[in-house]
Symmetry: C2
Subunit: 200 residues, 2 copies
């Protein structure tokens, strides 16, 4: 079957959570929007925490599918790093109704220890590391200057993506996305230029 009821619930849950937050996502509202009873919906999950964890998993699959997977067709290293950040920006523009699910969830749960926070940290940390890994490959392949600090550069690129989401959502102006794009491309191109110059 193409889409189980559970999947339909989670799809809607992720959308609501991106707007209202993972805690603001309530079972009653979710049921109402899906024309279900609370108990009928609740039966698919043992608890609200399980619903939240399932929503995180659903959102991470969407992110994987929209941002990471398509970059797999680009050559590992600098090209793939650029593909990831490009896809990431597109995902920020129209990925979820309420902006980046994980950015919002991170700041919502960073002060609430528990399984939900741990899962958010694990998943978001993974995307971060994926980007960093492509930068490392770019360095070993001579596409970036050999003295480039991949950790710092990943920090920088991820910072720009976060800022784009923040500014775009809070002020509603798409310039934030194009500004981030300009900066991301210039950083990757500049480092690339230095790397090529050095190895030439």
């Amino acid at each position: 079957m193409p889409s189980t009821k559970r999947d339909q619930i989670l799809e809607r849950a992720v959308s609501i959570a991106s707007v209202e937050g993972l805690e603001g996502l309530t079972i009653g509202r979710l049921a109402k929007e899906l024309n279900m009873s609370k108990s009928g919906l609740f039966g698919h999950f043992g608890s609200k925490e399980d619903l939240q964890l399932a929503a995180i998993k659903e959102a991470s699959e969407i992110f994987e599918q929209r941002v990471i997977a398509p970059a797999g067709s680009s050559e590992a290293g600098l090209d793939r790093a650029r593909a990831i950040t490009d896809n990431w920006l597109e995902y920020l523009a129209d990925g979820f109704e309420g902006g980046c699910f994980f950015h919002a969830a991170s700041l919502e749960f960073d002060g609430r220890p528990g399984r939900v926070k741990d899962e958010i940290a694990r998943v978001t940390g993974r995307w971060y590391v994926v980007l960093e890994e492509q930068l490392r490959r770019a360095i070993t392949r001579g596409q970036l200057a050999s003295d480039t600090d991949a950790t710092l550069m990943a920090f920088e690129l991820h910072a720009l993506l976060g800022e784009a989401n923040w500014a775009f959502r809070l002020f509603g102006r798409p310039e934030a996305l194009s500004r981030a794009r300009v900066l991301l491309h210039s950083k990757l191109a500049h480092a690339q230029g230095a790397g090529e110059r050095r190895t030439a």
Copy 2:
């Protein structure tokens, strides 16, 4: 009188909100922590929304006092920009119990139109502009290269501050703050070097 009851309430409210969010801040819990009745506390504010708005104002005064005001003793331009970002990083480290109040509040309310969101956007936008203004002054004073794009650079610096808060709070590792510091200083120093070279 040095500290009214209302001020005591708001001080506690801001601290709770930085952890639980502005919506997660409940009147009942706030009253309990202050050994007050809900209604007694409620009397100081006409509604929960007014309490939230008052908490935002309180938090902005703390930010102003810890980040912006101390930078006033540095010379306008590059020095003051550096002082602001330095103070900002310190504020991220120990400003509020649950991390940057405004960063969390921004992402919590960016999808909820209303007076609270408007106020958050207004206040956070103000800090952003203050930083950008110092960069502009640095350019006109020849402390930064004349072709520096102040808008883009402010975007970049603010992005690093946001990333530092995100990483520090989510993963609990202070390296995030020192990484941001390294990048902030190198960006300001690099642009400064270019500016000085050009005007020399």
